[in-house]
């Protein structure tokens, strides 16, 4: 089959690889009908996340049709089922899964020890996402082996196009969880850094969950225009002071709730000197991430407010104003998304027409054009916001 494989920084190739096979009785094989490129994939593409190996198959946002089912997964899946595959692989039985903390499932990371060395404890296995999270081949391919498939799936009905359902795999629940973690009150201002796909979903989620005011921060006009369409007031961080504008919009008090939908690759620019220093430190391995957004959120958030971090961070971060966090009594909530915790509810909202997540798609291409689309998405060229691949 054809698959997109990682070969190093900026090097993704579409190649032929052997078709996946059932390896465990809980496995299933999916024929992928649609998959997407995620901002998280860019962290691998730019090689800021450790633990990739040459030839790894990319992709963690996939859906398709079940074509083969292991004996132990037959109770919940059958050939022909239409499924969206969550990016977090879950066993459904461990202490964390039982609590709904799926992204920290205790069993599915087959390289748990590696993860524990990096993070103190293992976290869940993820598709197409470094050997720290199990090194499972991803779904930017014609076929995908789904481990623990009896639990790791979201059944979806026929009659709704792929485009409306695909993002149940990651970015819709991710934006949703980012907003849910804010426990939004009708009086709240929610400020969202990053108007990429995750930020866009967070904007809609915060609105649907009833925030009084949603503010989106980015620098790319096309993304800001999409944020406005979702009901957000926008701030262009290259033209205005984010801190001043946020204070202005909240009577000087700062937003109650702040969401990071940017992560470890904050934009580097002369207007934000800390990002230049971070970039230099990254280059000589003194720091792994560029936490500009975290710094800004900690500083501007209203005392007793909440920081909800959906953006991915990988390792060690410098110059974090934790004094502000401690003295203002801020709450920090983070995490890879517990996808399956939200998907029943979100599928219902899609079916009822409360939201149609396909609004975010700007590019649809075949797998062969995947490598080029990685470049387009990374460089924010051609108005690109979300790429869908059709294997």
């Amino acid at each position: 089959m054809k698959a997109l494989r990682w070969y190093g920084k900026g090097d993704i190739r579409c190649e032929s690889v052997p078709d996946p096979e059932i390896e465990d009785s809980r496995d299933a094989i999916i024929k992928v009908t649609s998959c997407a490129i995620c901002g998280s994939d860019l962290h691998l593409y730019d090689h800021f996340m450790p633990g990739m190996k040459k030839g790894d198959i990319m992709g963690h946002e996939s859906m398709g049709e079940v074509v083969e089912v292991g004996s132990a997964a037959k109770s919940s899946l059958k050939v022909g089922d239409r499924v969206v595959i969550p990016f977090t692989i879950i066993c459904g039985e461990c202490d964390q899964c039982k609590r709904g903390n799926f992204s920290v499932c205790e069993r599915t990371n087959r390289n748990g020890e590696l993860a524990a060395t990096a993070f103190g404890h293992p976290t869940a296995g993820l598709f197409g996402y470094t050997h720290l999270t199990g090194g499972y081949p991803g779904g930017q391919a014609e076929y995908l082996r789904v481990p623990y498939a009896d639990k790791t799936h979201i059944k979806v009905p026929n009659g709704i196009p792929d485009e409306q359902l695909l993002f149940l795999s990651d970015i819709f629940p991710t934006g949703w969880q980012a907003a849910v973690q804010c426990d939004i009150e009708p009086t709240d201002t929610v400020a969202i850094w990053g108007a990429g796909p995750v930020g866009q979903m967070a904007i809609r989620s915060a609105l649907l969950l009833g925030a009084k005011q949603v503010i989106a921060i980015d620098r790319l006009p096309e993304r800001l225009s999409m944020a406005e369409a979702g009901g957000a007031i926008t701030i262009n961080f290259q033209e205005e002071s984010v801190i001043e504008r946020l204070n202005e919009l909240t009577g000087g008090k700062g937003p109650e709730k702040c969401i990071d939908a940017v992560g470890l690759e904050a934009h580097v620019s002369m207007t934000h000197p800390d990002t230049i220093l971070d970039r230099a430190k990254q280059a000589v391995m003194l720091e792994t991430d560029r936490p500009h957004v975290l710094r800004e959120m900690m500083y501007v958030c209203r005392p007793a407010g909440v920081l909800s971090v959906a953006g991915v961070y990988g390792g060690l971060l410098d110059k974090i104003p934790f004094g502000a966090v401690m003295n203002k009594g801020l709450t920090i909530r983070t995490g890879q998304t517990h996808v399956n915790r939200w998907t029943d509810d979100l599928l219902r909202r899609i079916e009822e027409g409360q939201i149609d997540p396909s609004f975010v798609i700007t590019h649809t291409v075949g797998l062969d054009d995947g490598p080029e689309m990685y470049r387009t998405f990374r460089d924010k060229k051609d108005g690109c916001i979300k790429v869908v691949l059709k294997p």
């Binding site: 009150e185 096309e222 369409a229 979702g230 009901g231 939201i355 396909s358 609004f359």
Partner: protein
Amino acid sequence: MAHHRSGSRQSADALARGLGWFSIALGAVELFGGRSVARWLGMERHERLIRAYGVREIVTGVGILASKDPTPWIWGRIGGDALDLATLGKELNESDADRDRVGIAMGAVAGVTVLDVMCANALTGQSMQERARRWDYSDRSGLPRPADQMRGAASDFQTPRDMRIPDALRPYKQPQLQGRPQPSM
């Protein structure tokens, strides 16, 4: 890729082209006249470095003139200016350098730096306006009704207990008990 270019975009482009030719000319002098430049500045030890900087200038100049969008190349020029200034600045402390002439050279570089920064800012601002014109997603809400009417449409959702913020951090409403303010629910 057809799109109209505004007047200020044209003048920014013209400035960029000017800077491109300037880069090539300066680069040629540094590369082919490296020895004379070095002697004039009293920096004979650095002749090879000066030639290398000349190559950098030529590459940048060609980049500016040949690319569709010169913006990144102009930013590259600014980086080069900083390098030039740093190299020259160090010479101010060297006894064999001609400090007056090094000073003159630094003044010249600083002057061009100002132009570079002006040009980069104009180009960046203009390319952002062009982006906004080309890709306008203000009709992509993903919502069935205007955003304002969708506010709170999912208020049937119950925040799970583990994701609720502590009551003490909720907005303050009316005190329930006398004397002591209470967190509201």
